[in-house]
Structure formats: C-alpha cells, structure tokens
Symmetry: D2
Subunit: 141 residues, 4 copies
C-alpha cells in the first residue's frame, strides 16, 4: 500500500466513528501524510455566554485536524497535551478553517501546529499539540 | 451587592446564553469567587474515531469551568491561552467532573487550573488557562 | 536495589555532569521517586533588563527539578514540552524553591508539575512538563 | 521618534542591564518592531546531566528573543506564560539561533513565536509566549 493510501484509509477508519467531528459539521478539504485541512460553520449551538464561538469548539476543530494529521502515518496516535492561543473571536455563520502541519515526527512522538482562520483569512487561534505514537496499526495492509 | 451575589449574577448572565455549555449537558455543582465545579455525562455524540471521548469535549468542559471561575468577580474576562494534558480516556456514560480554581488574580490577568476527573476520582485531564480581565462589568450593581 | 536506591543513584549520575544546574547554584533539598525539591539564590548575573530574575532562570530551575523527578525511576527520560506561567517576579538575593511532583507516570510518558516559591512562600511561577521515558537505564543494578 | 528608533532605544535600554542575556553570550543579529533574531554558542557550563544543552538554556535564549520582540513597541511588556517543545538536542560548540516573530499584538496582550535552530538549519525547539503590555514607556520621546 502506498503512503497516500495508508493516510486515506486511516482517515476513513477514524471518520466512520467520529461522532463529535460529525456534530461539529467538519468537512475535510485536504489530507495527506502529516497534514490535514478542514473547515466548519459556526452554528448557534456552538456559542458561549458572550454570544461568540465557545473556545472549546475552536479547540475541538483543531484537535480533530491534529488527530487526522498525526494518525495519517497509519499508527494509532494519541494526544499527550496541547496548547491553544486565542487571537480573535468568531461569530455565528463564520466559516472556520483549521490547517494542521507536522512540525516533527519521531519514532514515538510528534509535534503539530494547527492554525485556525476565518473566511477573511484572519487568524482566530493557534494550537500546538504533542502526540504519542503507539505500535497499533490503524490500517492493515 | 455582596461578592457572592456578584458571582451568582455573573454566572446567571453567562448561562442564559451559553448554548454550547447547554449542549454539553453541563450541570453547575458549586460556584463562587474564583471557583467553579461542574459535571456532565459523556454521550455517544461526544466520542471520537477511537470510541472514546473527543479531547475537544474534555477541553470544552474545562474551558466552561474556567470561564465561570474567572468571570465570577463580575468583570468580563476572556481566555488568552490554555494548555491541557490528557491523562486517561473517558467512555460513553462516564460522568466527568471539572473543578476550576484560581491560581492568581491580578488587576488585568488571572491564572486558573482545572482538574477533570471521572466518577472513580481518577484524573482524566489537567487544564491551565490564562485570562485577560477587561473593564466591562458583567453585573450592574 | 530498592526503589529509593535507584532514585538516589539516578540523581547522583545526573548531578555529576550537570554543569548548568551547578552554575545555577542549585541545592537539592529532597528527592525520591517522582519527586524533587530544590532551591537556589538569585544572583546579579541571573537578572534581566528590568532588574528582576530572568524568566529563563526560573524555567531552568523548574526544568532541573522536573528532570530529577522524572528520571528518578531509573529510566532515562527527556522533556517533550513544558509550559510555565509567571505569577510574581523575584529579585537579587531571593531564595527560590522549586518543588516537582509527578502527576501521572505511564509506561512511555509522564506529566509533572513544578511550583516555584520565594522564601515568603509566595508562588512565583508554575511549570508543567511532559516527559518521554526511553528504554535506556540510568542505573545498572 | 520613528518606530524603528523606538525599537532600537528599547532594546538598548534592556541590554544595558540584562546580565543573564550577557552570560548566555547572546548576540543580536536583527531587531525591529515585533521581531528579534539572535544567536549564542553552547558552552560546557550550559550542559545538563546527559551532556547536552540544558532545556532551560534553550528556553532562556527564546525568552530573551521574545522579550526583545515584545518590548520593541516601546511599552514595558512582561511574559504571562510560555510553552516550549523540544525537538532536537544541541551539543557543546553548537551555534543556536533564536528568531522571534509577533503573531498578534493587541492593546494589552501579544502572542509571539520563537524558533530555535542549529547551524545546519535544523529546528531544536519551538517556543510560544504570551505578553502583557503595561502602560509604562521604555523610551521617552
């Protein structure tokens, strides 16, 4: 199986059961080895008490992009920790894009950056995550 | 107005519109100045592609507890950044508790810790957030 | 060898070569499995451009405490990432204590908290680190 | 005074007293509004117990670059928190470059990224810091 096939099958296996990513209305725009770009639209049920998108919703979209990027090598990988910086709020109806890139991928651990933007290309939040790569294969060749 | 009244009214004002906290099924157990304890039950729609709770759901509950704690002084406060460490997964049906404590509250900024546990009192995740305190009052005396 | 012996020998092996910890003037007050408490005195050469202790010096002391705590099990462990929150400055002559505790220790990874205080027992900074535990033994039984 | 002049004078005012940056042997390569690039050489006294550069030394160089970048607007700015991810070790004699860029600069807070590299252009560590901007001016016009 090619590396691209592995990435595709790993993503398909994850998406099949990922109910929360589905609830978020996430659409995958691009995906490959160590990479994932996705978007979703902010709905009223995603707002917090100040009428803007809940920080947890932005984190969640970034965390999904991170998971899809770090599992793209076909080895089950889990988040150890993540940091998010909030730059700008998003409102109902805004289309939010999350783009995850691999910063480093070692044998056991990997680091990933996710940038969240609105449709004006303004940065909303910056996420950085650390993954632990288990021995379990997501895809059987 | 007493400080407890301010905290109560700030929380009420936030909860009235906080649709995502409502979607999470969050119940506030205790709330006061610089403090918030809440819980929710993991539903199937909160699971990720590996059949465990999505990291973003744990972050979201922590972020809500953080917001309720840092806004309890009656001044509108927003998250600048937050870090989360994932210790243990949670499954459907698990009751997750998030307890936020104030580590430091300066004139303009505050630091908060949130501990997430399951009903066996096992730590699931540890969250640390930094808040910026605006001049806008949440509660008019 | 008992677990306490392993911790002691691991610390001794590290300290023998740890030139920067020595430069910091760090004294170990207490050390055991998953734990380390140490202190140092702020010298003029540790100050930044504002005449207070350089943030990197506080981080360094915390990072040493973290390293001594996470290597105490006798397996060579390295920092993956760390976060520090700065609560209060320290000045020349201040005695700074750093106390590291293990939050979680899995087979491959561990999480640690380090609290930095001055001699008035005021918190100066809070550090949280993630370690990767290699297979290499620090101590041969 | 032009903005470039303000940045220059702010840097000069900080460097005059920054003893720890001096101890690190830091040389400023480039500096301007929201930006700083510097380098230093790893000396034997900067090594940890494993014979590689102490994590605190890498953090310190990043923290200096961050401080010089966020104070470049002429308003005294202090670090609230920072996160560092360690990708690759550095050894004695290595020349380490730290490049700080402004991600966002609001009225009261700012976010900065610092990338640390060795002379082979390999990333050693990634630092992200949050600054609070006080009202105090560093430079009097």
């Amino acid at each position: 199986m090619t590396r691209d096939n592995i990435a595709q099958q790993a993503l398909a296996a994850m998406l099949e059961k990922d109910c929360f990513t589905e609830w978020l209305g996430i659409i995958i725009d691009e995906h490959g080895e160590g990479y994932c770009k996705l978007h979703f639209t902010v709905r009223s049920e995603m707002l917090n008490g100040f009428g803007i998108v809940h920080g947890g919703v932005l984190f969640s979209a970034a965390d999904s992009a991170f998971a899809f990027a770090c599992n793209s090598h076909g080895r089950l990988s889990v988040a150890l920790d993540a940091t998010i910086n909030f730059l700008k709020p998003a409102a109902e109806g805004d289309i939010v894009t999350a783009e995850a890139r691999e910063l480093h991928c070692g044998n056991r651990t990997g680091f990933y950056d996710v940038v969240l933007k609105n449709s004006k290309n303004e940065q909303l939040a910056l996420f950085r995550g650390t993954a632990y790569r288990t021995d379990r294969l997501l895809v059987t060749e």
